[in-house]
Amino acid sequence: MIDELRAVLDRHADDITPRPYPYTRVVVLHRRRRRNLVSTLAVVSVLLVVAPAAWLLTRSPAGPHQLATPPPAELLPLLNSPTRGSLAGDEAFLEAMRRRTADEVGAERGDPANGPYMPTDPDRVKVLFAGDIGSRRYVLTAGLDGWPLKAMFFGHQDEPPAHLAQAGSGALEAAEEATFAIGPGPDDEVGFLLLGPVGAVYEEGQAQWSSTGVTRTWTAIAVPDGYLAVANVTRIQRFRVRLGDKVLREVQTYPVKAGPVAVDPAPYGGRGTPMPEVAGQVASSLTSLTQLRDTGAVLRVLWSDEVPAPGAAGGLVRAVTVQVVTADGGGPYFTGVVDGDGMWRDHLTGSGFAGDPARALIVMRLPSYTAQDNTRLQVIAPPGAVRAESVQGGQVVDIPLVDGVGWRPAPPQTTLTVRAYDAAGALLATTTFTDLLPPGCDRLNPPTCQTPVPTAGTPDPVGPTP
């Protein structure tokens, strides 16, 4: 019966395709609900509490925008810049977009007392960008008072203002970016826009990776139209826009589709079993993350094996860690796992920087296929290591190693120190593992991981080999 049921479910599920623009529809629905909720609360509040006070306040000559203060100084360069984009000279189009913004966005976000807001007066709305980028039409508007709210509109090339879909709103920033799908499908190509104030410098960065981090060299890009647009993102690029010495925004573009990346699947030092397909996929991800695709970067597999994972199809996953080999012998690494159904996972602790694998020690938590964290802490030690130990709160736990690889169970939110030893008992390497990484931490972008967070326990100091 179960097999028949699976077959029926498979057959019916295969026929289902989503309608276009699911994200835009979610945002619209969310805004409608919020508007309804706010309206209901407002009515109740007015009836029960606010009405007398409001009556008193309305006796003053206060206008609807009297509470609005001037915009923050850092936003003025962008707000004072002329409209950019291929439709910047179409005054009728711009006027229609100002009116739409004031009517639709101002109607629900028109109170300066509630954070970023959009005026309801079209004359207090500015079109920052209006134009076609490839086959897509994009319009960015913003309020000119108080804490400015921005609103984004998307559509197909040549669509009139009334047909553009409002794609969202949010607090305006000193420089704006937009990434948008060129087609309706999830695998369609994407376009990109970076918009700073007039006079801003746009730069492209080239990364130099090492075993300890990344530095970038920036080269100015000519932007004769006053903005940076990529109609079809076909490669990974890192851009930033600065005004004087102040960097306003730094972003990275990713193409939707990317070709294969070659890597020797044999794991370093015999640590595990070669898995060519998985290694290629992980190498592809790593070169995308590091902007090293198609640059001839040398890659190596640090570890590759089939390991148990709760919830994974068949109970097992194929896990591979790939490293970029930089001039100092180490470099950034990334770990990916895939189960029998081809479902991919990675874990925040599975990427980072490591030195020469002959001496480097990596500890990571493997990804989970269930609602709970995987308890498996994977240890990838120098191939010469025969045993490791973890130290936590003064408690030492031995971790047997085979070809430099081992593991131990550990609950979530763990911080501990791991040491690896050779057959003679000499300390080969030591490292600290923690799950307690700052929110939003990208371990291949070190500045995002430098915010300290409260720790559940302090790692044991690394001392001499006992």
Binding site: L5, R11, I16, P18, P22, V27, V28, L29, G311, Q372
Partner: protein, 162 residues
């Protein structure tokens, strides 16, 4: 406020979640409504979520269960459907599929999560907010009920011959 991570999640996972929604409710249009509604509910909490997929599944099941309890159903839709709201009649010719749609919502959800998404009993229990024992009993009784509803000869037909 729209969120880039949320947008990426929607774009990457929408199709898969829509299939689950469809198997839960049995209607293409209601599946879109169900998923859109769950995603709209998730949007304000997005940054605080550890397991958004589990959350979305639970919301969909709960919404579906609540919809069935309500005498009047509110259809939440963000855009007008671009085609007629009738599901293809061919679905009704599939007896096992029809029988599945006659099961109670949570029982059907257990069968979909366990046997189509291949989730463990523990994970299914976590998603649905019920005990593992409830999952076991729903799965067992659900399969028994399907056997009752679908005569044995029809099962072969349901298994790819229609």
């Amino acid at each position: 406020m729209p969120d880039d991570d949320f947008q990426a999640f929607v774009e990457q996972r929408y199709s898969a979640l829509l299939r689950t929604a469809y198997l839960l409710c049995g209607s293409r249009d209601r599946a879109e409504d169900l998923l859109q509604s769950a995603l709209a509910a998730a949007l304000p909490k997005w940054r605080r979520m550890d397991h958004p997929e589990a959350y979305l599944r639970r919301v969909m099941v709960n919404q579906l269960a609540n919809v069935w309890r309500r005498p009047i159903r509110e259809i939440v839709t963000a855009v007008l459907p671009d085609r007629p709201r009738h599901d293809p009649a061919i679905e009704d010719r599939d007896e096992l599929w029809t029988a599945l749609r006659r099961l109670p919502v949570r029982m059907r959800a257990v069968l979909v999560l366990r046997y189509w998404e291949d989730r463990s009993e523990q994970e299914t229990a976590q998603i649905l907010g019920v005990s593992v024992g409830t999952v076991k009993s729903h799965a067992s009784r659900g399969l028994d009920r399907l056997r009752e509803l679908v005569p044995a000869p029809s099962m072969a037909a349901a298994n790819g011959e229609n």
